[in-house]
Symmetry: D2
Subunit: 355 residues, 4 copies
């Protein structure tokens, strides 16, 4: 879990820039014998793919994945799985502005400060295009945890939250917002449209639940399941906050109000609440694992913002290009992928130590 | 960063249980030649030490640290620094209840599910006593980053938040709550006292700022500074949420409202806002690094809660023992320590790659 | 340094099988700003490339490397460098024999025992073709250590050793054996030719020296420079032994005979001998780092050898296909690459800890 | 496997110097539920302990191990096992000579070059006393692999080798040399005595075999079983060479001579030879895993050797103090420990990936 590699036993390394010839990932440590082909990965990439509605960036990328290694006769061999996605629609626009000045809120200045220079085309390595590689790796991770069902959705855009009473999982794929509340989806259409037309952008909250995780996954003390999830989620572009279970609401609660009582159950104990989000002491309890993730509004807006040039002089920048008015929307498949990747890793780690 | 080790280049491994003979940490990768002795570590342990006011657990632990290796003639040698803290006040109480049944909200059930059995005395390895080792390691980390100043405080207890307008850093050490707002501290005295007397508990929010971090620390893409901080903080006992900069508030904002404009500065660019919390693209920007951490109320309360026995039968448990009515309070030195540990690690990683 | 990743700070991950569409490596942690293009990598691949003389396998692979990421305007950006080499000459021969039975001395049986099945085409992942990826990564590593000069050669084939008195570095590239002794090269021509014609194979010893390594590289205690080199070399296909400095000869020596006396030198101490191979206590001394590596004869021979089928029945196998009569010869560029990779990693690690 | 930590899933970190108050290790990732107490570790430490015969250093260290964590009611809990050994016989001698000048062949100069200064008392961290911690960790590792039997011995001292025809495992514990050949043991008595009296020292070869390792352990490609063993062995103080199976002899052999034919066996295939040392393609074959390790003669001799002072001036040093005339002898328990540690780690890694 350093630099461009994530995971302990089930690991993936990503590579590639927004405007390079391709991007990809090498998935290592995958158990052998799992059925795998491009068709099992592509649907997840399609869900994340840009250009599918007017609410996401209009860059047209087919995001076709190719398996280059690690699969033989349709099954994983236990050796590294190399997945590649070619970049197709790198528009040869003029990057002069971005090359010379720092887009505020983007990684431009920080990259320059760290590395001395940067690939400024489309954000280079800091572009959210890299998350396509995570989604591809996540599709493989799902095969490692067939007992687990991972479901993500958007629960708020620009401060307008869904009504939990309206939650309908089937609704999530019926609108372009991954929204489980049909009424909220209707409101968001106007909300996001207005932001898009105004050249503005909106933040969002993404939630994700993993059901079927058995009690006992998690590796104390510094690879705790919740710590790993926090790491995974905070590492996604534009994410600024992570909650497990009740999160910050728990900080305003009392011990009585936050209790998750237990009673005997058929196969496993039954919990009468899940304030903990399915994790206690860094280890899964058998309840659904639940995470909430805050995506900031993208800093790519049409309003000019004061900034400086590479030479340190004052200037202003606004972002032309093609951008998501609400990056949180396409964050859903990424959050799901990271959830699957963390759980696959923890499953293997648990198996290593506890047999 | 796996199991009981944290960090990449500046690493520490902790060991020890609540009621074992001792606990400790091995700090590895520390640069050589730094002045170090017990006196430079002890003040941080003293700040975390229990039994100092009626608002924390009454367990009396001197938490005296001993340096067992890695220091010669008062300076670090570059070899592992072994730090040990003996447990003194393990009260020989009857643990029959806890041994036989699972305390809801604690790690008891999850540990049993994972390992098949557990050291039930005081929570064993899952006890917050382990954080003493982190605080000791954090004191060493501070020596690695003398350019950085780390400051933590409690910003809310049980939902009662400080008024930012009253923020006074000097106030933090003047009250038993690490509270920078004298008025809030006065309110909290009654609030926490009532909870303590009622055998209840309260959640809290801890904040921490690191000033002096130069632009350029952070290691994309899966050891991003913000991801590492999220990992570090979510791995602290009782933590359920982490925010960098504006966190979840950013998710309700627009791109314009969330912008951090820049203008030329004397030595480095000047930022006109810090919604980002000092981190862009996973790399420090030179602004103060700011994190918010949600601590749940401890599950150790006097109100009986339904639970099950190890044999799976229904029962009820309430927690006798000595416990913190608000564990978030003593979380401040731990959050500060983890901030210092992450930054020291990132500094060395940056130096490795970028010279 | 786990599974398919090698290194701590300067790391590379390889992927690909002998008969897949391609193989490659992702180099991570490379310092930014280094001049890099395909032309700086290709010569090293050409040196390792098969089919260049009758003394190596006749498989024709151009081994053209493509840089897919991590380089912008001719310089490394500090982000992952993805290198890909397409497989061209995967002969569509009948692998029926190898699919059904285990080639003795090869990884066939062990892979099946571990993974339950295997990609049997050309050895799959266990093929020495993977070493092309290491050689490509090694070319990048050399850019990280411009102060170091790495030189490898074959010092013995089939037990016939060079005469150190004849050592001439310029000779190494003048014969197809990487042999620094012109007389030995002449003898080996007949020796290897006979083995080739007889369908036999020969073992070899490869040596490698790194000059210019400053004193102080190496990371005690379990990332010692010599331990890392041993790991790197023993991980090359067909290697069965590694020596640093005098190696096993030291085990037959006395303390007096093995001493490396020192005297004052111009810039650094001068050593009067180098029995230690440039490493003391796991740390470089400033003398040339010297390693000797034993390559076994390839198990691919025309003489039938008793073995068993996947179903456990007795059979015999001999190896058709195209194979190296002496795999040690093409081991030279691989040993050099691993030397460069270990040193680049140690340089960065040293810089991290010791500034 | 970096700095002072070894292993991937079953990991240990060591700390401590020759003349500090104590040394120790933290064993992490150990499976829960294994019976463990000091009595199961002490015999291995006793075997390594100095001062037991006139053929080893006369430093008197009881090397009593204390378990400080990770064990509850006599069983491992799955949490870190902290083991501590106090230093007792740090003779308060005058270290003036060693402080001011570099002992040739020792780590003195390299440590100073790396860290700027060093703990010169008894070699500090570079002392072979650290290996006591490895032996303690190795005792725990043996519990993880009850199916495996690890046996080490000395096969040559100062170039005088045992006769394999005389090999008798029962003999190993009957003489002070861990020698399986009674006749060789008798010869070595005079050999080592003469070296000791002359203030000289002798190199040695240690061999070690692990029987019972099932086929399938090993983690390609950079955590191969043989590569990990090479790393483990080359990291032991004074080791300069490692061979798996036939090692360098294989480099002088032909494919026919080096073949390990197979035939059907009762439970597993039967091998008709073991040139490979039980490892093919980096994965165990089910045959005994066999390693040979070259220990140099200690550089601590009474003959003065030219060297330089810290200020760079010429001087001479000879080693007073108490030293082993043949450090290879006490290397046997260390080699055994490292074999057990590598195998325990590989077992857990195999279980993680392959279930």
């Amino acid at each position: 879990m350093s630099f461009n590699t994530f995971g302990h036993m089930f690991r993936f390394t990503t590579w590639g820039e927004s405007h390079g010839p391709a991007l990809g990932t090498v998935v290592d440590g995958c158990p052998p014998g799992l059925a795998l082909n491009e068709g099992l990965i592509q649907p997840f990439l399609d869900a994340r793919r840009p250009g599918q509605s007017r609410f996401t960036t209009q860059r047209q990328e087919p995001d076709q994945v190719k398996i280059l290694s690690g699969v033989f006769e349709g099954r994983t061999t236990g050796t590294p799985i190399s997945l590649m996605i070619e970049n197709v629609d790198q528009r040869s626009k003029d990057y002069g502005d971005v090359a010379k000045a720092y887009r505020p809120g983007h990684a431009d200045y920080a990259y320059d400060a760290k590395y001395g220079f940067r690939d400024y085309r489309g954000g280079g390595r800091s572009s959210a295009r890299e998350t396509a590689a995570r989604v591809a790796a996540g599709a493989v991770a799902r095969l490692v945890i067939p007992e687990v069902s991972v479901l993500g959705w958007v629960s708020a855009i620009g401060g307008d939250a869904i009504d939990p009473a309206n939650f309908d999982a089937a609704e999530i794929t019926r609108n372009p917002f991954f929204c489980p509340d049909a009424k909220a989806a209707a409101r968001w259409e106007a909300l996001v449209d207005n932001a898009r037309k105004a050249g503005s952008s909106l933040g969002a909250v993404v939630e994700c639940t993993a059901t079927g995780v058995p009690a006992g996954w998690g590796a104390p003390l510094y690879a705790k399941l919740d710590a790993e999830l926090a790491h995974a989620m905070m590492g996604i572009n534009a994410v600024k906050g992570v909650e497990i279970g009740d999160g910050f609401a728990a900080a305003a609660n009392t011990g009585e109000g936050n209790a998750d009582p237990m009673r005997p159950g058929a196969k496993a104990p039954e919990f009468l609440a899940n304030h903990a989000g399915g994790i206690a002491g860094g280890i899964s309890t058998g309840q659904p694992v639940h995470v909430r993730v805050a995506f900031k509004p993208t800093s790519s807006i049409l309003t000019p913002v004061p900034t400086i040039t590479r030479e340190g002089e004052a200037t202003e920048l606004f972002t032309k290009g093609r951008h998501d008015p609400c990056v949180g929307i396409r964050g859903v498949p990424v959050v799901e992928a990271m959830m699957a990747l963390v759980l696959a890793d923890q499953k293997l780690m648990h198996r290593a130590q506890c047999g």
